[in-house]
Amino acid sequence: MNRKAQAIVLFLVGGAVLRAGSTDLYLRYVKAGLRPLLLAAGVVLMAAAVATVWYERRTRTAGEDAGEGEGGHAHREPRVSWLLVLPLFALILVAPPALGSYTAMHTGTALQRPWGFPALPAGDPLPLNVADYAGRAVYDHGRSLEHRRVKITGFVALDGHGAPYLVRMALNCCAADAQPVKIGLTGRMPTVLQPDTWLQVIGTYTRKRTKDPVGGGAIPYLEVSRSTPVPAPRDPYDESWNG
């Protein structure tokens, strides 16, 4: 790859990263806290592209023979540099969605024992996130959840038999380490459910629980009284694990 082509690649990759960071696109792939670093990286890459073109033009006007060689001795970048166009295509053309039901059903539930079970605030129905409900249901045997109506948002995933689960992917840093936390849904559910649609369910704690066929983790159930489709949240991942 010669310098001109390298400058094009740097400029486009920098622009794609800058665009992903300045919209909510980056939230599909990495944690929210990475945004300033992403924007800075995009700016630096574009600056490197501009500098490459500028110095290339200056050397060309200074001496005609310098423009021909790559640093005099034809030091070309290795072919592996061409692969940099792949993330470019992925970000600009495809922009793959956040991890959804496919990954969720191929990965075991990643529920971990919470540090403690602080008293829940008042409110009916009480908004809880998926991991909070599952943690209290499994490790506190639902003690703090008795006689409470809870409101939980997540996306739908169906297992091999079509049984519905409400899932939220928990994220530490980027989608490569995202792991699902699952809640089984029983009670009044719509008859037709599309995987990956976002649902807000209102329901109560039930003792029923099951073992995840993948990984063997515990999956608690929720007795659903009402479910409404909702738009996907701005940040599709649960980042409360970041600490």
Partner: protein, 337 residues
């Protein structure tokens, strides 16, 4: 399905390389053609990638690249600063005369080169050329990618509940680096080491040299980062979790499995901690082996070492590093984790 995009650049590359236009492949023209072809064909490409496996592969791939890129850019900027504004003679003056003492000093000095392994290979090559004893330069080569602040911070972020992982990684990596330096001091022969040649960025002023170094490092390391991201995405999206779980059950097998995985994946040391964190079915010791082996020897490093120091060197140095890194991380893991 995923191979459609992977194959696209290489196929276009080869096709255009055969073009007898002036006997030389014009890469900017090739790049523009490739971009045009992909934009025109984006409908079929999107349809081909709509299967859930392909989608999740793409998401993980994009995520690994996007997450590692800021760290890579930061490392590249700092390494360009050092390469351009710190005179090479400074390193030679700063090191003790006696090689046996210079090895640990150079190993600890690795902490000040914030970059990934891609940056440390050319710097180590330059050190050898400037008359630094090879044993010390090699200790630096092995320690720099593993114990610098950026990598250790990334490790702490990736393992928020196991802060001892950072200490274990630091101790094990520094120990392996020094041991390899002393081993080279004892057994190494000068004729195994081909004097490294490094592309010179000088001649057009410091600004030009700085940006040339940035461009060169991003194109080099960025390409290898994409390779690593593809491998990691394949592992995450395609390989059934049960395969790795089978290896994770046995303590000895799990350490060896992750050590080999580190070599094969060739992930940038600034990003490998996040991949290690996601391999949660493995013991901490096995994941420590992954973090110690990865920055010291992997497929892309072997290629780079061959290019910089010669094949005779790489063929001896790489297996020795692998064995020592596995042994030391097992020991350190047993004590600290």
């Amino acid at each position: 399905m995923t191979t459609t995009t992977e194959a696209a650049p290489t196929a276009a590359d080869r096709r255009d390389a055969g073009d007898p236009r002036g006997g030389r492949f014009d890469s900017s023209l090739g790049l523009i053609m490739l971009l045009l072809v992909v934009v025109v064909a984006q409908g079929p490409v999107r349809r081909a990638l709509s299967a859930p496996v392909a989608q999740s592969w793409m998401t993980v791939f994009t995520a690994v690249v996007l997450q590692a890129l800021p760290f890579l850019v930061l490392g590249v900027l700092l390494s360009a600063l050092i390469a351009v504004f710190v005179p090479p003679s400074f390193f030679a003056r700063a090191l003790p005369r006696r090689p046996a003492v210079a090895v640990p000093v150079a190993g600890v000095a690795g902490a000040v080169l914030p970059g990934c392994e891609c940056a440390s290979v050319p710097v180590a090559g330059a050190l050898v050329r400037r008359g630094v004893t090879p044993a010390a330069a090699l200790a630096f080569l092995l320690s720099a990618p593993a114990i610098n602040p950026i990598v250790l911070t990334a490790t702490a972020v990736a393992f928020p509940r196991q802060p001892q992982m950072v200490l274990a990684r630091f101790v094990a990596s520094l120990f392996v680096a020094c041991a390899m330096g002393w081993l080279w001091q004892r057994l190494g022969r000068a004729d195994w080491l081909r004097p490294p040649a490094r592309p010179a960025f000088h001649g057009h002023g410091k600004g030009a040299a700085f940006w040339a170094s940035v461009r060169h490092d991003v194109m080099h390391a960025g390409g290898f980062l994409v390779v690593g991201a593809m491998a990691a995405a394949t592992l995450k999206a395609v390989v059934p979790a049960s395969w790795l779980r089978g290896a994770a059950d046995d303590p000895v097998v799990s350490i060896l499995a992750l050590a080999v995985l580190a070599v094969l994946l060739s992930i940038c040391s600034e990003a490998d901690a996040f991949v290690a964190a996601s391999l949660s079915q493995f013991s901490l010791t096995a994941r420590l082996a992954f973090l110690v082996v990865g920055p010291m020897i992997d497929l892309k490093l072997f290629a780079m070492q061959t290019g910089t120091f010669g094949r005779g060197f790489a063929l001896r140095f790489a297996p020795a590093t692998f064995v020592l890194a596995v042994l030391v991380s097992t020991l350190v893991g047993a004590v600290l984790l």
